[in-house]
Amino acid sequence: MQRTTMDLWVGIFVIAGIGALLVLAFKVGNLGTYSAADSYVVTGSFENIGGLKVRAPVKSAGVVVGRVTGIQFSTDTFDAQVIMSIDSRYQFPKDTFASILTSGLIGEQYIGLAAGGDEAVLKSGDKIMKTNSALVLEEMIGRFLFNKASEGDGKEKAGAD
């Protein structure tokens, strides 16, 4: 085969391969939509994080504004410290409310931020003061059953009187 034809084919092959990588990065992956390049880090302490995982999204009004970058257990306060990195395009007031929510009934868990009314904004290293723990299904069912049982007790007593 001619040397130039071979060079052409190899060139096409290499360009197509790199193109495929770029397609994977931008169309399939999240490189185009979210970059962690310029972001600030805030922490929040939660009583119970349920099934929250590292890399879970941080959303506000349903829009992804950041990612969970770390989860630690604090032995001082005996609760979970969640470290979030938030895109610096989005500034949140100091009294922002963070809660752990679930997308759908059995979907993944994420952190939902609801903006407060404070003038000052959260800066890197700040701590979110107002948090709301994850709903744990077992605890809810347990509380529900307990309430039902005590209701039943009350009725029985009323009948005996």
Binding site: M6, V14, L21, V28
Partner: protein, 265 residues
């Protein structure tokens, strides 16, 4: 009776020593290839020629199998996910399974049987027809002239082939799920982009393919160079290339996966 036991134990020892000797020989050969790659990297035309034979000519099989693997993943993923009403997650499933596992592993297996066997057969036949010996007579180092360009061509081609495999696989999944079955296109792509992380999923996949590329081509050139110079020897070496590199790919994949994706989401 004791004599027979002694012979049996001796046989075990012989095999162990043989295989360790061969492993050492292969490592020395690999090191030698590395040391002598300098000259072949300077004559880049040789590597381009080999990229044509190992990479460009493997394109058809890689693209066709990638398309079909993606289509099958789309079908099966839809079948299972629609039971839970989560059929829009089929894009996530197709993309993650292709990028993390199937893309690198299946592309490497195909590469081993398509290009690795060809490299072994070529080098083995060169040895059998005494071309390698003739080169040495002319003071041309066969490792620098024949082995190193093939090795580097395989290392270059493998990640590109696997990237093409994954990309066309995702396209195949899209064809089946969105065009054929009618999953919503917007949620197909957006859920996929939400779940696939560039560093975590794509870069790890590329690292895997680079490791597989080195392993497959190193095994292929060694088996070819080590083949006994007969018709039987070359055919045996070709078989050994495919078997050993397939096992190496699957074993390395397990090791790499357990390091990369341990205990995370």
């Amino acid at each position: 009776m004791p004599r027979r036991i002694v012979i049996g134990i001796r046989g075990v020892g012989h095999r162990v020593i043989d295989s360790i000797w061969r492993l050492g020989y292969a490592s020395r050969f690999f090191l030698l290839t590395m040391l002598k790659s300098g000259t072949s990297l300077r004559r880049f035309g040789l590597i381009i020629r080999e990229v044509y034979f190992t990479g460009v000519l493997s394109l058809i099989i890689i693209l066709v199998s990638g398309l079909f693997v993606g289509m099958v993943l789309g079908l099966q993923g839809y079948e299972t996910l629609q039971r839970y009403g989560a059929e829009s997650a089929v894009g996530t499933m197709v993309a993650l399974s292709l990028l993390r596992e199937l893309g690198p592993v299946v592309a490497a297996l195909l590469f081993a049987s398509r290009a690795g066997s060809a490299i072994t057969a070529e080098i083995g036949l060169m040895k059998a027809t005494e071309q390698l010996a003739a080169m040495e007579m002319m003071a041309v180092d066969p490792i620098a002239r024949v082995v190193a360009p093939r090795f580097w061509a395989g290392v270059i081609s493998m990640p590109l082939l696997a990237a093409l495999f994954s990309a066309i696989g995702v396209f195949g999944g899209y064809l089946v799920a969105v065009v054929l079955i009618g999953v919503d296109e917007g949620s197909f792509w957006s859920q996929m982009q939400d779940a696939v992380d560039f560093r975590y999923d794509i870069v790890n996949g590329v690292i895997k393919t680079c490791v597989f590329g080195v392993a497959v081509t190193a095994i292929a050139v060694f088996e070819g160079y080590d083949a006994s110079p007969t018709a039987e020897g070359v055919s045996g070496a070709t078989t050994r290339t495919v078997v050993t590199s397939s096992l190496a790919i699957l074993g390395l994949d397990f090791v790499l996966t357990s390091f990369m994706f341990r205990g995370m989401s």
